[in-house]
Amino acid sequence: MDKLTDKFLWKSLKEGDLNAFSVLFETYYPELHSYGLKISKDTALTEDTLQDFFLYVYEHRENLSDLETIAPYLFTSYKRFLLKVMKKNEKVKHTDFSNENFADIQFTAEELMTNQETERFKNKNISSLLNKLPNRQKEAIYLKYYSGLKATEISEIMGINYQSVVNTLHKAIKSLKEEISIIKLFKL
């Protein structure tokens, strides 16, 4: 979305404009929902935490700092919010997130577009290749190509600098390309 609109939306929200907040909600809910689901793999948990998160944002609107772009703030804060809840539930669920700074994202074959280059071998192969990448690379891939965020925004969300984002993305794409060409060789 346009930067001017972002700035305007955020300012209106800070002034308590509920309709501005509803526009913001409608704009970012779908992407955050999908991001939350990737991190938690739990629809109910994702939807509950999204409700609580947006309520939290609205109630604390006066203390929020001015923003030029909204997406990095929402993605970062929501992720933190969600991970906190997940950590609380950790004991119950016997899963361990504590030593992970980056979310473990899993991709499915259905999510991958079939284009001419990938048609030769199954999307299944690509999704399993993607899933084998380090968590950091997977999250960068997700934010860039699924959520459609800019590298500068991703650097804010992941707390790494711009060059690291670019390098991380390139490393992931490069190893993916290499694996794909190996598969192609075997299949032909």
Binding site: Y29, E110, I141, V166
Partner: protein, 329 residues
């Protein structure tokens, strides 16, 4: 665009025309970048890296629907309202409403500008045929290795590179014209069906039905009647062919997926195969060049196409890398 310096990967990634080149979206950007890369060989590694990142991975997003979002918003709104005090609500609501209306207006105006001016491009690969329905109802069949582009708010003016067959809907009420533009000429139409081919550095137009006017690059006008075939080259500033073709299917059969040969030499026939599939043709047997061939071959399946030719002219065709090698049996 030209004054800008490209030193870091960021300079490429943030550049809209670079993205267009990587995605092969826009003719002028593609030309610009191909020229630029040729003249800046030291930046090649950086360019490749940036291209990889632009192309990335395409996801088929599965996002929650509008209804779900509206439902979740109602839930949240109820929670917010419950926490709010009741007085002053009416005045606030009005204020909020007007603010929201202005936001919506802003967003829709932005959307209008972004959408209305966007250029749409359809592209086909070798061995691929695409049928396109334009906004005004006209049908276009795009032959292999061709592209058709137009502005979203002006779909009756299209740019063609390659070959396409047009069935233009007549706009009786407005008498609105339809335009096809190529490097050599423009075709002016009211409603009719015709074939345009820009391959081989010329533009050939075959009119099947109705009537059309050609405006050649040199300024001359030419009216066509059904059955006419005219080809013109702007580079040579010359009409190359102007004749009547009685068997229309010779010019238009490709849109049904086949190439028709009628007493064509094998050399000429292989030239058409080269255009359709992108293979280069190598004759090891010079004599077979002049063998005449009559029949139809598929345009989207090279293996069957090869077999069909081998059967009808008694030669051996071997597919190797990007070439078809023709030799004696």
């Amino acid at each position: 665009m030209i004054k800008k310096k490209y030193n870091t990967i960021n300079d490429f990634l943030e550049d809209a025309s670079f993205k267009n080149w990587a995605l092969q979206n826009n003719g002028t950007d593609i030309n610009f970048w191909e020229f630029w890369i040729e003249n800046n060989p030291d930046k090649k590694a950086l360019v490749n890296k940036a291209k990889d990142l632009v192309l990335g991975i395409s996801f088929d997003k599965n996002l929650v629907g509008k209804e779900k979002v509206a439902f979740e918003w109602k839930k949240l709104e109820a929670k917010i309202q419950a926490k709010k005090e009741k007085p002053k609500r009416k005045v606030r609501f009005l204020k909020q409403f007007s603010a929201a209306a202005s936001i919506l207006l802003l967003i829709s105006v932005a959307f209008y500008f972004i959408n209305s001016n966007s250029k749409i491009m359809h592209k086909t690969d070798y061995g691929e045929i695409l049928t396109i329905k334009l906004q005004d109802g006209s049908d276009v069949t795009l032959n292999s290795n061709s592209s058709l582009s137009y502005y979203k708010n002006e779909s009756r003016k299209v740019w063609l590179s390659g070959e396409a067959f047009f069935q233009v809907d007549k706009k009786v009420a407005t008498n609105a014209k339809f335009w096809v533009l190529t490097d050599d000429l423009s075709v002016e139409v009211y409603g009719t069906s015709f074939n345009v081919n820009t391959k081989k550095k010329k533009t050939g137009v075959f009119l099947e039905e109705g009537n059309i006017w050609l405006k050649l690059k040199n300024g001359a006008d030419k009216k066509m009647i059904p059955g006419n075939y005219i080809s013109y080259s702007a580079a040579k500033d010359k009409i190359l062919e102007d004749k009547n073709i009685f068997n229309a299917t010779i010019k238009t059969s490709w849109k049904n997926g086949s190439l028709l040969f009628e007493n064509l030499s094998l050399e000429e026939a292989m030239e058409k195969i080269e255009e359709a599939y992108g293979f280069s043709i190598i004759f090891k047997d010079e004599q077979s060049k002049n063998t005449l061939i009559t029949g139809a071959v598929p345009i989207t399946n090279i293996d069957i196409c090869i077999k069909a030719i081998e059967k009808s002219v008694d030669v051996l065709i071997i597919k190797k890398d990007n070439s078809l090698i023709i030799s004696k049996k």
